[in-house]
């Protein structure tokens, strides 16, 4: 468990944040730019010193203003992947990778050199100089360099922000592999919800230097405070499921989610794989009775739990076989269906509009 409780004032900007990041697990620090995400990771790394507060990793206190304790960054064993990679320009890729490894001999090895280069696809790059690498390659080398320093915790400060969409897709699978295979605790800074969805188990929502909400990604996807930051297009329940059947020809898979079965677009997964998916609220259709003759692949019986009316209409929370799903409908539709909490309703959404991603790491229960 990483326990953070920090305050820092720099001119106009004031940071006042406290949160716990479960370990193992991937905790996303999510918020708009200027919300204090990078400042927070710099404080955790020890590169910045807070005005007050403490940082505790496991049993070890790393920063404590009350007693004046401040373990220097070089002795924290906290890996840091910067937004701009920060590869050493005078060293080859190999030299960069070995830099931290050579200085961490005393610590227990997390992963060996050969394994890192294989996991991150760096075998062909070892002899190159950093300026000969693409942006995506640079970030992969930075990731490998941080891992080889045998960290107890990995901080990633928007590692994909400087990359274009195609390059992001090139690096994301490596981050997923890292999370699922190494189970190293990570704190991942991002302002892209897509990345949070693919990588994080937990989410700390920051705004103006304060923690607005914190919890599992699944729970917070139902939370209005996160929805306000995301905007109406990205609101939707985040569900975890397990693949039961796959149809390679159609590129679809059946998932067991809660007590029900969903059909979603998903390729390259074997039955048994755990999958994370988001069902966007605006893609969900509600019906008060079973409908027939529709192309929609998912029609699940559920119960209305709550209805939030807002300026866009209504956001309906439904319990679908133990899993929570959100549906965005207009005020007129709500009135026409006369939905009330406790009512039964059919939840319909298209397989094609629901994308899932393999997500092996289980969300640890808060202890």
């Amino acid at each position: 468990m990483l326990r953070v409780q920090l305050s820092l004032r720099r001119g106009e900007f004031a940071l006042e944040a406290a949160f716990d990041a479960p370990t193992p697990g991937v905790t996303a620090l999510f918020g708009r730019s200027g919300s204090g995400k990078t400042t927070l990771v710099n404080l955790i790394a020890g590169l910045l010193s807070p005005d007050a507060g403490s940082v505790r990793l496991g049993d070890e206190l790393l920063t404590d203003r009350a007693t004046g304790l401040a373990v220097p960054p070089e002795r924290r064993r906290i890996g840091y992947v910067f937004q701009d990679a920060r590869l050493f320009p005078h060293l080859s890729v190999q030299g960069n990778l070995r830099y931290g490894e050579r200085r961490a001999r005393a610590a227990p090895a997390l992963i060996g050199f050969a394994e890192v280069t294989a996991l991150l696809g760096l075998e062909g790059l070892l002899a190159r100089q950093p300026h000969q690498l693409s942006g995506g390659e640079r970030q992969r080398v930075a990731l490998g360099r941080a891992l080889l320093a045998r960290p107890r915790l990995l901080l990633l400060d928007e590692p994909l922000a400087s990359l274009d969409l195609a390059r992001r897709e090139e690096v994301l699978p490596y981050l997923e592999a890292l999370r699922d295979r190494l189970a190293i605790p990570m704190v991942y800074v991002s302002h892209q919800f897509e990345e949070v969805l693919r990588l994080a188990t937990h989410l700390v929502l920051l705004e103006g230097g304060r923690v607005l909400a914190a919890g599992s990604v699944n729970a917070l996807s139902l939370d209005a405070r996160l929805q306000r930051v995301l905007g109406p297009d990205l609101v939707g329940a985040v569900l975890d499921g397990t693949v039961t059947h796959t149809d390679a020809a159609e590129g679809s898979a059946q998932l067991a989610v809660g007590g029900g079965t969903l059909q979603v677009s998903l390729r390259g997964v074997a039955p048994g794989t755990r999958v994370r998916l988001q069902v966007l609220a605006r893609d969900v259709i509600l019906a008060t009775q079973p409908v027939q003759g529709l192309s929609v692949r998912n029609a699940l019986p559920g119960t209305v739990c709550a209805i939030e009316r807002d300026e866009l209409g209504a956001l309906v929370h439904l319990d679908v076989g133990g899993a929570m799903v959100l549906a965005r409908i207009t005020a007129q539709a709500l009135d026409a269906l006369r939905l009330r909490p406790g009512d039964a309703a059919w939840t319909l959404f298209k397989a094609i509009s629901t994308r899932g991603h393999a997500f092996t790491l289980r969300t640890p229960r808060p202890s």
């Binding site: 070089e74 840091y80 910067f82 050493f88 830099y99 200085r103 320093a149």
Partner: protein, 232 residues
């Protein structure tokens, strides 16, 4: 060379090279340290310290030579101490000429190094910290190698400038043939003597060629190192 230059001229050339080389080699570590202190240090009086380091650039070289003579001369406070306890005598020696040259070229060296130090992204040093490198380790493994273009440029420029140092050398180390009579001093002597015109012209040409060679070498070295670092 032997055919082109008279033994005395050859001697002056050899002395010039020796004096400049000694001055560069001895002042290099100190220059790196001062450049680092000025580039990264935050302490009261930094601006004054900066001005002091750069003072030889704007002072008359004769004044620098004179101050050295007062300090390090046989009757000077420091000079007397050095002579009594260590048997080191600097005025009127080749070592003294090198010292005077070093003081004069020191600001050039520091300036080049400091510029290259300030162009280093301090984020790289932060990255090294998170990878477990302590202060001295970071300096040796990151800062120093990245300063290399500046260190080379500073050293070669100081060497080229040191070949021609006149005022401070003649004031502090005098004009002793074979000991402190470097190229510019030999040139000055030739100009003072009757029938020395041809000799003076040859020595001036030689100084000119050496200076040009030095500057070109500095440029070439810096470019090569920069290319290796991926900065064009």
């Amino acid at each position: 060379m032997q055919g082109l230059l008279a033994p005395a001229e050859l001697e002056a050339l050899r002395l010039s090279l020796a004096v400049a080389a000694r001055s560069v080699v001895c002042s290099l570590p100190l220059a790196v340290l001062i450049a680092w202190v000025l580039g990264r240090g935050r302490f009261p009086g930094r601006t004054l310290f900066d001005a002091l380091v750069h003072l030889p650039l704007v002072l008359p070289p004769v004044a620098v030579g004179y101050v050295l003579l007062v300090l390090l001369g046989a009757r000077g406070s420091l000079g007397g101490f050095l002579a009594r306890h260590f048997g080191i005598v600097l005025p009127f020696t080749t070592a003294g000429a090198a010292l005077a040259t070093a003081v004069m070229t020191f600001p050039l060296m520091v300036r080049a190094m400091r510029l290259s130090l300030e162009s280093i992204d301090q984020g790289l040093e932060d990255a090294a910290r998170t990878l477990g490198a302590g202060a001295l380790d970071r300096f040796c493994s990151i800062t120093l190698p990245l300063m290399l273009p500046g260190i080379l440029a500073g050293a070669v420029t100081a060497f080229a400038a040191g070949l021609g140092e006149f005022g401070a050398v003649i004031t502090f180390a005098s004009n002793v043939p074979g000991v402190t009579r470097t190229l510019p001093l030999a040139l000055y002597t030739a100009m003072q003597s009757p029938n020395g015109d041809a000799l003076a012209l040859r020595l001036a040409g030689l100084s000119f060629a050496l200076g040009l060679l030095g500057l070109l070498a500095a440029e070439y070295l810096v470019r090569r190192v920069r290319r290796r670092l991926g900065r064009s």
